[in-house]
């Protein structure tokens, strides 16, 4: 767990270095007037110092065991993947086909239940979302390549 915390700690330091490096390119101070890079350079520098303190603090901490169940961890990772897939396929597959599939996959990842029940819940949830966002709020959803080909 400590190694992962360290990696995450270094992640913030990289972000800080990236922001300071770019901020200096935007200009810092000219004739007593702050330029576009002034504010992000200050924020990035403070982040860099704090990030270094944070990493040193994590180094000093004693090693601790990760007691979370592995099964739950994988479940979370697969749900994250499902969310990324939904975003990637949204325009291609379209709302009406992709949404029930994604809801089914998420439900299946969280709870092992009857297939019929999970399918019914996925369809009902999709209809509800469609009514609220498309019918009531007039949001246009992509129909996707598959439905477009059928039409």
């Amino acid at each position: 767990m400590r190694n992962k915390a360290l990696i995450f700690g270094y992640f913030w330091i990289i972000i800080a270095l990236f922001s300071v490096y770019n901020a200096l390119k935007y200009g810092f101070f000219h004739n007593g007037i702050p330029q576009a890079g002034f504010f992000p350079a200050i924020a990035g520098s403070v982040l860099l110092v704090l990030g270094a303190i944070n990493v040193i603090t994590i180094y000093k901490e004693s090693k601790s065991q990760d007691d979370r169940e592995k099964e739950n961890k994988y479940r979370v990772i697969f749900i994250m993947l499902a969310l990324f897939c939904y975003v990637a396929l949204f325009y291609k597959v379209g709302f009406l086909i992709l949404t029930p599939i994604t809801i089914y996959v998420i439900l299946r990842l969280i709870q092992y239940g009857s297939v019929y029940f999970l399918v019914a819940v996925s369809v009902i949830a999709t209809v509800l979302l469609y009514v609220v966002f498309h019918t009531l709020l007039k949001i246009q959803f992509p129909s996707g390549s598959i439905l477009s080909l059928l039409n």
Binding site: K4, A5, F8, W12, I15, A16, S19, N22, A23, Y26, G27, F29, G32, I33, P34, Q35, A36, G37, F38, F39, P40, A43, G44, V46, L47, L50, G51, I53, N54, T57, R68, E69, N72, K73, R75, V76, I79, M80, L83, F84, Y86, V87, F90, Y91, T99, T102, I103, I106, L107, I110, Q111, V121, A125, L129, V132, F133, L137, K138, I139, F141
Partner: protein
């Protein structure tokens, strides 16, 4: 006379049928989010933000404010019946509320908590009406240096009173400020951190970040640790009304909790958790029977629950009058103001009187609605707890996805939402607080502009922040707060946020 004119205006706006409907929807959703563990008011406000785009600014803010203060009422239900706080601020209620429920006194605990919340909520609104315009007038004298220093103080307060590492909280505030820099610089017109992507020219959307950091990450972290095996105590309306003895025991705790909670609430970062914790400590200290605390003392429910609501109500004052959100839910609410093109702050009452007084009036009405919702309908709320979490989790994830898409009909917003969902999950795992990030993100652009104006005024001299008395005071307090943890640890003491965490 002006007070009554304003009161009349407030009720006139609040009694508009549409406003009544949105207020009811707000407090209903607020109570629901308070009741359901793992769904905070900040998440709910973020989730419902896209739904308010079709409403007027008044209606939107009335509804979202309803969610904010409604959640305080609902939070006590799960604390008392399940020993699981629905809201973080109801954490202390578990200490005596749950033992009361085990003794068969869940009803009086829920009843006194609802009545106490109502009294505290009403007190906060009256104080908002009295203090709000005064504070607003005083703040009109603030120039850019004062706004820089008060924003700095607000951010430092939030990190100081947070229940974790102050270094990590300050880091998250810096991240929030940096995310706020993405897009075209408002002063110099320079593209910053866009990577050439046109979609980032207007900056990173606030709503997808909120949905990701609070909606998606909360679901992911809950799915790792959620336990469905919890016991719910049954209760009925007759049992809900506290007896004369209960009222006698709770009278002073409610009075003390109201005043104390309000005072703590108006401090940025103070809010409900700290208010309820201090109230509990005070009640235990002044009680003739401190040994009863933790074993089902009604004073241990009445005081903290009242303080929690008074704190939540009090926290609205700095937002509406100074443009300073005291907690993350209010930072999200401030985001809603900005999305609707309204800048909360000293000019709000003058420029948007209908909005300000409409919100005040709706809070009065909303408090009555909440009392009605929380007492007779308690059975429905407890039944809602039986909704399987996997259904709720799937729906939250989908609402986050579709909600973020609906902002600009753009898949980019969905992608940003998912990225921040994953980042928020990792932040929760490694104990990096999201609240300072959101607050800094909301305040960042105005902070940067005021900082630029101040330095231009002084030809780049940073001493301008120390040469003006009000600004110097705010900067000094911020500096003292920043260095105090070092001194406190030297003397073996802890800052308030860490005391809250230890109690948790």
């Amino acid at each position: 006379m002006e007070f009554f004119d304003n009161l009349f205006l407030a009720f006139k706006i609040a009694s508009d049928p549409y406003n009544l409907v949105v207020c009811f929807l707000g407090v209903l959703v607020g109570t629901l989010t308070g009741v359901l563990p793992g769904l905070g008011s900040s998440t709910a406000i973020g989730l419902l933000l896209p739904l308010t785009y079709k409403l007027s600014s008044e209606q939107s803010i009335i509804m979202l404010a309803g969610i904010y203060y409604g959640a305080f009422y609902g939070g006590s239900t799960t604390s008392i019946l399940l020993n699981v706080p629905g809201e973080g601020s109801s954490m202390i209620t578990c200490l005596d509320g749950y033992p009361m429920a085990k003794q068969g006194r869940a009803g009086p605990a829920l009843g006194i908590s609802a009545f106490g919340s109502f009294i505290a909520g009403t007190f906060s609104i009256i104080m908002l009406m009295i203090i709000g315009p005064m504070l607003s007038n005083a703040a009109l004298k603030f120039g850019p240096p004062e706004f820089v220093s008060i924003t700095l103080l607000g951010l430092v307060f939030v990190t100081y009173l947070g229940s974790g590492s102050m270094t990590k909280a300050l880091m998250m505030a810096c991240i929030g400020l940096l995310i706020g820099c993405v897009g075209i610089d408002q002063v110099n017109g320079v593209e910053r951190y866009t990577g050439g992507l046109l979609i980032l020219n207007d900056g990173v959307g606030l709503v997808p970040i909120i949905m990701g950091l609070f909606g998606v990450s909360e679901v992911l972290i809950t799915l790792e640790t959620f336990s469905p095996n919890i016991e719910i105590f049954k209760t009925n309306l007759k049992e809900l009304l506290p007896s004369k003895k209960d009222w006698k025991d709770s009278g002073w705790p409610i009075a003390r909790g109201t005043v104390l909670g309000f005072l703590v609430g108006i401090i940025p970062g103070g809010g409900g958790i700290l208010a309820s914790l201090i109230s509990y400590a005070v009640e235990k200290k002044v009680s003739k029977h401190p040994e009863k605390f933790g074993k089902g003392a009604i004073e241990g429910v009445a005081g903290p629950e009242t303080a929690n609501n008074a704190g939540g109500g009090g926290a609205i004052i700095p937002l509406l009058t100074l443009g300073l959100p005291c907690n993350v839910s209010l930072a999200v609410l401030m985001g809603a103001f900005l999305i609707h093109g309204i800048f909360p702050g000293p000019l709000l009452i003058k420029e948007h009187p209908n909005l300000f007084w409409g919100v005040v009036g709706s809070m009065y009405v909303g408090n009555f609605m909440l009392l009605a919702l929380n007492l007779p309908l308690i059975g429905i709320w407890t039944r809602l707890l039986k909704v399987p979490y996997y259904l709720l989790a799937a729906m939250i994830l989908m609402i986050c996805l579709i909600g973020s898409y609906s902002i600009n009909n753009s898949v980019w917003d969905m992608l940003i939402m998912v990225i921040f969902g994953v980042l928020g999950y990792l932040m929760k795992k490694f104990e990096y607080p999201a609240a300072p990030l959101i607050m800094a993100l909301v305040l960042g652009p105005m902070f940067e502009i005021s900082l630029g104006q101040s330095l231009t005024m002084s030809s780049g001299n940073f001493l301008i922040f120390l040469s003006r008395p009000i600004s110097a005071f705010f900067v000094s307090v911020a500096f003292l707060l920043l260095i105090s943890p070092t001194f406190l640890s030297y003397f073996g003491k802890k800052r308030p946020g860490l005391i809250v965490r230890d109690k948790d």
